[in-house]
């Protein structure tokens, strides 16, 4: 009992931090979004249904995040397996290299993509030189939501890899060996043993990618103008234009937070709760 008391005591700073910098600000935002002209109202949220701009930006944000989560998983999982299989210096080197993109701020990532794929970017000029491709047409996609998918993958794939490398290491390979030695075909081993074992980690990884790309701001800010309608940028425009609509921005921020945390919570409910503790 005494030990438990001590544990809670040690948790206090964290609790205070969460209260002060997460719960309190969020509560303020929620309050501002609900308080319209001196009374409680869902007006700001109903705008989300009635205003094209909000519907579109929510849709684009969802498509963007689903695409990045899907592609990031598709590309990240095989790479993570490859890294898992390496040993020694190669392994630490590739893990270190994987972590590098995570250290850059979004603005830097955005600008580096301009340098590589922009109108006078390195690859763009190569394409022009060797294939006669018009640089204006080639680089145009970079400033659309599809360009954001490419740019986001740069910092999302490493997240997938790091999640999965841990999963591969913790996987119970003796089950795979047992299945094989009992005569199961590789396909059966893959679908019946390996996939169920790894699925929770893969889903955990991809829901993380989804949440991160829903909220990513810096890269989108550096790359695209106000033409691309995604939630973080629409929120930005709302708090910085003359006819600023802070309350609508608050409502959008609440939606954004709900979607991202919702995805992670649902994942945890479905998978983590059922997971046997391994040890």
């Amino acid at each position: 009992m005494e030990r438990r008391g001590l544990t809670y005591l040690l948790l206090l700073p964290l609790g205070a931090l969460i209260l002060l910098f997460l719960v309190w600000p969020l509560a303020l935002v929620l309050w501002e979004s609900l308080w319209v002209d001196g009374r409680l109202s869902l007006g700001n949220y109903s705008l989300l249904i009635f205003r094209n701009l909000y519907r579109e930006s929510l849709a684009t944000s969802l498509i963007l995040s689903l695409s990045t989560a899907f592609l990031g998983t598709l590309l990240g999982v095989p790479v993570s397996y490859a890294i898992h299989k390496t040993r020694g210096g190669v392994r630490s080197f590739s893990l270190a290299l994987t972590a590098v993109p995570l250290t850059f701020s979004g603005l830097i990532v955005g600008f580096s993509f301009i340098i590589l794929l922009g109108t006078s970017g390195f690859f763009t000029l190569l394409m022009q030189r060797f294939f006669g491709i018009n640089p204006l047409e080639f680089s145009e996609f970079l400033f659309t939501w599809r360009g954001l998918v490419v740019a986001y993958l740069y910092f999302l794939i490493p997240r997938m890899i790091l999640t999965m490398v841990a999963a591969w290491s913790n996987a119970d390979w003796s089950q795979v060996e047992a299945a094989s030695s009992l005569g199961a075909r590789p396909a059966t081993v893959f679908f019946k043993v390996l996939l169920p074992m790894l699925a929770p980690s893969v889903l955990a990884g991809s829901s993380l990618l989804f949440a991160v790309s829903m909220g990513a701001f810096g890269t989108a800010f550096a790359l695209t103008g106000t033409g691309v309608k995604i939630l973080p940028l629409v929120i930005y425009t709302h708090v910085s234009e003359v006819a600023a609509d802070i309350n609508a921005a608050d409502a959008l921020a609440i939606i954004l937070t709900t979607v991202t945390t919702g995805v992670i919570l649902v994942y945890e409910q479905i998978f983590v709760a059922r997971q046997p503790v391994r040890g």
Partner: protein, 361 residues
């Protein structure tokens, strides 16, 4: 009173700083009372200047000259005019900024909301009445003309008119700033309006034109802050912006003949920029020192060195820039506008732009 060792140390360090500050002192006053104001400002220990981005309108030149003369550091940010007013409003209970700079109508808006303090700087009386608040709650410091800035490495034939920009060969080429959040964006919306026979009572001709440009697929990007670096890097074929950005790219960033400046045939407008002392500024004396400095003939000349035309009439342009401006006959096509009125119709214009150009409703 007994002095402990660390107090002595603090005093000594303070003394050294004070002496250094004296070392950057000036010989002659730019205006009566400058030295006295400076003495007071030095005790305040800094200045927060909103929206004076260093690559915009030669603010870097002003910062350098100010810090060299007075030994006072300037903290700045680069928000955009609209965002600046919003920020001032959000912070009005606990002001952080000493001075705020914006496209003039935004200054009028800030004054109307009670966010700015009255202050009449040096040369205030020389400003035309149209571009200063009667009590000095804002006043114009420089102006810019809306032009096309062309990167000739990306565009083979320089367009000379708004009409020409609609041509297919400018597909995905035109970049401009968002009228809802930035002064330049709003200024160019007024410019397209005047060029198409509209006025402040009816801005639809200009906004319809921008919608047409959008539908033609010729708009590459609508930016939120000045993409000067992107232009220099070679990302922007046709940039609708202020003249000084073009001159800066051409003569200061060294792009030279690769850059063309065009004042469109149908006409354009010249926009004044304003600055204010913020109501409740934490460093009021420094704010006054800073505002006075940029309004002296010396400060106005620093703008001119960056090809930014001063607001104070009769300030002589430095020789190295005077001959590089486009001919006066081109500038004749740029009209002046009733900027106070422009402020009153701005919200409506911003809404109309959003709905017609981006299809937001």
């Amino acid at each position: 009173m007994r002095l402990s060792a660390w107090k002595v140390l603090v005093l000594a360090v303070g003394l050294v700083f004070a002496l250094t500050a004296v070392a950057v002192a000036f010989d002659e006053e730019l205006y009566p009372g400058e030295r006295e104001l400076w003495e007071k400002a030095r005790e305040e220990g800094g200045l927060n200047s909103y929206d004076t981005g260093p690559t915009w309108a030669n603010w870097q030149g002003q910062f350098d000259a100010f810090t060299e003369r007075y030994g006072i550091q300037i903290n700045y940010n680069d928000l955009g005019s609209g965002a600046t007013v919003v920020r001032l409003e959000k912070e009005s209970n606990n002001p952080q900024a000493d001075t705020a700079y914006y496209f003039m109508p935004f200054g009028a808006l800030a004054a109307e909301k009670g966010l700015t303090a009255p202050f009449k700087p040096v040369n205030f009386e020389r400003l035309p009445e149209m571009i200063r608040h009667p009590e000095g709650k804002w006043f114009s410091i420089h102006k810019g003309t809306v032009v096309f800035v062309i990167n000739k490495r990306l565009v083979s034939e320089t367009p000379t008119s708004w009409e020409e920009l609609l041509d297919k060969r400018f597909r995905k080429s035109v970049v401009y700033l968002d009228p809802r959040t930035t002064g330049i964006g709003y200024a160019l919306t007024i410019a397209t309006t005047y060029a198409h026979g509209g006025d402040l009572d009816d801005m639809s001709p200009g906004i319809d034109y921008l919608a047409e440009l959008q539908q033609a697929g010729n708009v590459r990007l609508i930016e939120k802050t000045t993409p000067f670096d992107k232009f220099v890097k070679g990302e922007i074929p046709v940039w609708i912006t202020y003249d000084w950005n073009g001159y800066r790219a051409k003569y200061i960033a060294g792009l030279g003949d690769a850059v063309d400046l065009v004042i469109p045939e149908e006409g354009t407008i010249t926009a004044p920029y304003a600055i204010s002392m913020v109501e409740g500024a934490p460093h009021p004396n420094t704010a006054k020192l800073w505002l006075n400095f940029i309004m002296t003939d010396k400060g106005q000349g620093i703008f001119a060195k960056g090809f930014v035309r001063p607001s104070v009439p009769g300030v002589e342009l430095p020789e190295e820039v005077a001959g590089k401006f486009l001919p006066a006959s081109d500038y004749d096509r740029a009209q002046d506008v009733d900027w106070i009125k422009a402020q009153s119709v701005q919200e409506e214009a911003a809404r109309m732009w959003g709905s017609k150009v981006l299809g937001e409703d």
